[in-house]
């Protein structure tokens, strides 16, 4: 009896463990199967670098360059804003703030991570967008810069919490050794703590960027969604994620448009996979320094 029990439990655990891998594989196969279909009609080069996204014209023009650039502008903007802020915030929380303030700030950052993105999206829509319009004197506030600012808030918690872990992992002996040699607190942080934690910091930044690229709802609400090639931060843009979310519902299953949306999914998957891979590599890199 007991033997059967062991067998059943082990089997169940094995099945649950293997299930996640199978699901990922199935999703990947399905994505490839549907997405690659689009290349019957459009060449890979024309698809990636085509300047026009008119999926419902006749014949449809399926160039996703405007969408890739849209995602790129928003991501670059969000990175420029969130990385310095996130790193400074993590240094303050991890190294400088006294105990009580540290706890409050950590709770605050975690709370920021817990806000649903749609909520951030509509807060952005009613507060940030008019502000951007007024501040930069634009015809509309629904622009890449609004999306970047909003997404920077979403990337911050990821960057701060992972980087703070990295700072915590720096041995106490490094700090004491440095301080005991007459170094100031800032010299110690700058010369010893940050270099020692560098791989964790890179990983934190990468995962923050990954979060930004994959984000959908908030950007869809506040970037204006115009599928044109953007030239500045102050133009409406449309990201790859927003395109899929907005158009999947109204496309005919099996049409070129439908397959093209899946192909965008593949491109997104490839980008986020690459970013996560880079983060993983730097996180598990052995700290070899001269």
């Amino acid at each position: 009896m007991r033997k059967y029990y062991e067998f059943v439990v082990e089997g169940l655990i094995f099945a649950s463990g293997i299930a996640s891998i199978i699901f990922v594989l199935l999703i990947f196969i399905f994505l490839l199967k549907e997405g690659l279909m689009v290349f019957r009609d459009v060449g890979l080069f024309d698809f990636l670098f085509g300047k026009f996204w008119y999926p419902i014209s006749e014949p449809p023009r399926l160039g996703i360059l405007p969408l890739i650039l849209g995602s790129l502008w928003v991501t670059v903007g969000a990175t420029i804003i969130s990385v310095p802020l996130g790193i400074a915030c993590a240094i303050f929380i991890g190294e400088i703030a006294p105990g009580w303030l540290r706890e409050i700030l950590k709770a605050g950052v975690e709370l920021l991570a817990a806000i649903p993105s749609i909520v951030l999206g509509f807060i952005g829509l009613v507060t940030l967008v008019p502000l951007v319009k007024k501040f930069f004197g634009l015809p509309t506030g629904l622009t890449a810069i609004a999306g970047s600012i909003m997404l920077a808030f979403m990337a911050m918690p990821t960057i701060v919490s992972i980087m703070e872990d990295a700072l915590n992992a720096v041995p106490k002996g490094y700090r004491e050794g440095s301080i005991a040699m007459g170094a100031t607190k800032w010299q110690t942080i700058h010369r010893i703590v940050l270099p020692s934690a560098s791989s964790g910091i890179i990983a934190a930044v990468m995962l923050g960027i990954g979060r930004v690229i994959g984000e959908t709802m908030a950007v869809m609400m506040i970037t204006g969604n115009a599928a044109v090639i953007p030239h500045t931060f102050f133009q409406p843009v449309r990201t790859m994620t927003a395109t899929i979310a907005a158009e999947m519902g109204e496309t005919v299953q099996g049409s070129e448009h439908y397959f093209a949306l899946f192909a965008i999914g593949i491109v997104l998957f490839a980008i986020t996979f690459l970013v996560n891979l880079l983060a993983d590599l730097s996180l598990h890199r052995k700290p070899v320094r001269a």
């Binding site: 005991a180 040699m181 070899v288």
Partner: protein
């Protein structure tokens, strides 16, 4: 050593940790160019005392101290700039703690923070310090390698050398040999005997035999109190206090 000048004067120093007393009104002096051994069981306040001398204790906001510590007759809290104090009063920790940078940079770290930029001067400092810590011959060909690659004993001598690079006057050793093998320990002890000619050394150790081997005078701490301080010979042969006798003869602690 009767007329030797007093390098450090401790006057009624009390320290509390989270309002638990760690040192209770300790008063004594450390003489110039001596090795003062500090012995005592765990929690007797030895390390707390050491960390007060270079104000590393400032890092812990739960520590509160009262009383006076004078180094070169200047109060460490009122008259000394804390960064200058830490350069003058170097410290070698229990666990070898080289910084995760090259051997050369470990030694140049202190002088660089002090504003020394001149390459030749830095190289000279590095060489002189490594020689003084008996490490030069072992590492002179690989100064650009990571200090983390050195053995434990070499790392500890590196830590001594990097302290010397700051041209200190007092060096504090916090159980410097606790993780080392007997040969490495002997090398560190040799270095200490040599160093005392130029510096004032304070050695906290759990190893009473080590204290007997290298110290000129020995202080015995118990529960945050200074029980007795005297010539090493006397402490280990004819201690005045029963508690000291008990400890050095291995009856407790």
């Amino acid at each position: 050593m009767v007329n030797a000048s007093e390098k450090i004067q401790v006057k009624e120093l009390s320290v509390t940790y989270d309002s638990v007393p760690a040192l209770r009104s300790v008063s004594f002096s450390v003489l110039e160019h001596e090795i003062l051994g500090i012995i005592g069981p765990a929690n007797s306040g030895k390390t707390t005392f050491l960390r007060t001398l270079n104000r590393l204790s400032d890092l812990n906001p739960k520590l509160k101290s009262s009383g006076e510590v004078l180094i070169d007759e200047k109060d460490i809290y009122k008259k000394w700039n804390v960064f200058q104090l830490r350069k003058k009063v170097g410290m070698v920790f229990a666990l070898p703690s080289p910084l995760p940078i090259s051997i050369f940079e470990n030694l140049a770290y202190g002088p660089r923070r002090d504003g020394v930029r001149n390459k030749t001067r830095l190289s000279e400092t590095v060489e002189r310090s490594l020689k003084a810590a008996f490490l030069w011959d072992e590492v002179k060909d690989r100064l650009n390698e990571s200090a983390m690659k050195l053995s434990g004993g070499q790392q500890q001598r590196l830590c001594i050398a990097r302290t010397l690079a700051l041209e200190p006057e007092v060096i504090l050793f916090d159980e410097p040999c606790s993780g080392l093998d007997p040969i490495s320990t002997a090398m560190i002890e040799d270095a200490m005997r040599e160093l005392k000619k130029r510096y004032t050394l304070i050695l906290v150790t759990n190893n009473t035999k080590q204290a007997a081997r290298v110290s000129d005078r020995v202080a015995f701490f118990l529960m945050g109190e200074l029980v007795e301080i005297d010539q090493a010979q006397k402490i280990f042969t004819v201690p005045k206090d029963k508690r000291t006798e008990g400890y050095v003869s291995g009856r407790y602690g």
